[in-house]
């Protein structure tokens, strides 16, 4: 009997291990396909921009679309190659403005969201104004912001703030309102004063909701800064792209886009990671 059980146990183990191998294999396959698609697209891009027929009859003219090898070379030149001083100040300028705008937008969006969610009357009074402000096309205001705050870091930060604020505000507001009356009453029976309940219940609850807006907020802040740099500035990745346009240099343009995308992806990944740590208590991040 014991022998039979032992045999079934080892058989079961083998089966489970086999199943795990299949799962791992599937994961590798998906990754393989993803890499393959990327390589095919890049190869096609590289090749067509070297074939006269494509250059003449399609959009694949290296003057307009550059080519992957040139873009990689340009990024290398800018970062570690001969023109290594070229990229860093622009990148730093964009990142710094993004950071400031993000912090300002998250802090104010959170504070106002929390305040209005706890004050029903104030929320009702301000409701039409919030909706009106939120309906203003963000980009339409960028020239005005640039006019008021100038060509420096100021207008970039304000634009980023404006992009982020409503996002965080609405999430926090919704979260603050969603808190259950029973939870608040329960904490009152435990002896919590209104101030204690704010710090132990309302704030953590609202923070959790605000956090869920963060990955989008990072993207929005970056977009805001770059747009502001398009409209008027003297440094930044957006400025780099606008000067590439002025000089009709598509390689510079693509190199900037690639760097900017990489920055965006990295920032969002970092935020998601921080979120997972901070929201360890939430079932969604188990």
């Amino acid at each position: 009997m014991a022998a039979i059980m032992e045999r079934t146990a080892s058989e079961l183990r083998r089966q489970l291990e086999g199943r795990q191998r299949v799962i791992r294999g599937e994961r590798m396959q998906v990754l393989g396909w993803q890499v393959l698609i990327l390589l095919v697209v890049l190869a096609f891009w590289e090749w067509t921009t070297r074939v006269p027929w494509f250059i003449e009859h399609t959009i694949m003219d290296p003057f307009f679309v550059s080519r992957p090898s040139a873009i990689v070379q340009r990024i290398y030149d800018w970062t570690f190659g001969p023109k290594r001083g070229h990229l860093w100040p622009h990148l730093a300028s964009t990142l710094w403005a993004t950071f400031l705008g993000l912090v300002a937008g998250v802090a104010t969006g959170f504070a106002v969201g929390l305040l209005l969610s706890q004050n029903r009357r104030l929320a009702r009074i301000l409701n039409p104004y919030v909706i009106a402000l939120n309906s203003v096309p963000r980009i339409a205001l960028v020239p005005l912001i640039t006019m008021i705050f100038g060509l420096g870091v100021g207008s970039k930060v304000v634009t980023a703030w404006f992009m982020v604020f409503f996002l965080v505000f609405f999430n926090t507001f919704k979260g603050g309102q969603s808190i259950e009356r029973e939870l608040l009453d329960f904490c009152r029976t435990l002896g919590g004063t209104p101030r204690q309940i704010t710090w132990t219940v309302r704030v953590p609850n609202a923070l959790a909701w605000a956090f869920t807006a963060l990955p989008n907020a990072v993207s929005f802040a970056l977009i805001g800064v770059v747009i502001s740099e398009f409209v008027g500035s003297t440094t930044g990745m957006g400025y780099l792209m606008i000067t590439s346009l002025a000089t009709l240099n598509s390689t510079d343009m693509f190199a900037s886009v690639v760097v900017l995308s990489a920055v965006g992806v990295t920032l969002v990944a970092l935020i998601r990671r921080a979120e997972r740590r901070l929201l360890r208590w939430s079932p969604e991040f188990r």
Binding site: T189, L190, W281
Partner: protein, 259 residues
């Protein structure tokens, strides 16, 4: 301990008024365990909320330990909701400690008490977990010991076992009776489960459909200590159950027809 005198509660909307309870009078003695049963939608929870001071009665008066309840939670009152009321962002340890922290107790005392209460709730070894990592029954017990940490003399329970399976429910009944045997709180339990009411309480109060009033006030004279598993097989239990069901069942039927 608890005196409800001709209390009424009317909810007013822009277009109409709804009487949840009308002229209810009820008295619960110190250390008594009273269950309130009635059809769903009757003012059971409203009554409990008024005793707790969450809502003020529209008319009438409520006194707890001799003092009038007026929009303030009476001292030494604990309340367990049907809904999950543990704080998801705190660990089991932090949740148990919450009431003591609110009261500004010392860290040493808090640690000591958390340990005892975690053991009482069968949560030893789970102290550092978050509520979403616990089972439904464990979360219920956690809410209970969060309240017990504040040493309540009165416990108001609003259908606390409603959402649980029979097995978990019965175990919690046992634990509740055990806790009460040790600390003799005054307990008011609101439930729609007559079996639960008869098993646990010294007295069962039947409320009518809204506007609710007291239809029946039945003492349950079953021997102590009660065994929650075997008590339902006794004749005395059946006697009480049937006597109350005669009134309650009719009320259920009438409530069903108006729905």
């Amino acid at each position: 301990m608890i005196e409800v005198e001709a209390a009424s509660k009317v909810y007013v909307t822009a277009t109409r008024e709804i009487w949840a309870v009308r002229d209810i009078s009820l008295s619960v003695g110190g250390g008594e365990f009273v269950s309130i049963v009635g059809p769903s939608g009757c003012g059971k929870s409203t009554l409990l909320n008024m005793i707790a001071g969450f809502e003020a009665p529209t008319a009438g008066e409520i006194r707890v330990a001799g003092a009038r309840v007026a929009g303030q939670i009476p001292d030494g009152l604990g309340y367990i909701f049907q809904k999950d009321t543990v704080l998801p962002w705190y660990t089991v340890r932090q949740n148990i400690a919450l009431g003591l922290r609110y009261r500004g107790r010392s860290a040493g005392l808090i640690n000591e008490k958390v340990e005892t209460l975690a053991a009482l709730a069968g949560l030893e070894g789970f102290e550092e977990l978050y509520p979403h990592e616990l089972s439904g029954g464990m979360r219920r017990r956690l809410a209970l010991v969060m309240t017990l940490a504040c040493d309540p003399t009165i416990l108001l329970l609003d259908e606390p076992f409603g959402a649980l399976d029979t097995h978990t429910k019965t175990l919690l009944h046992m634990e509740l009776l055990e806790i009460r045997r040790r600390t003799r709180q005054t307990i008011v339990l609101v439930t729609h489960d007559l079996g639960e009411a008869v098993t646990l309480s010294d007295r069962v109060v039947v409320l009518s459909r809204p506007p609710s009033r007291v239809l029946m006030n039945q003492s349950i004279d079953l021997p102590e200590p009660r065994d929650v598993f075997s008590i339902r097989e006794t004749e005395a239990y059946a006697h009480y159950y049937q006597a109350i069901w005669k009134v309650l069942g009719q009320e259920f039927r009438a409530a069903g027809m108006t729905h």
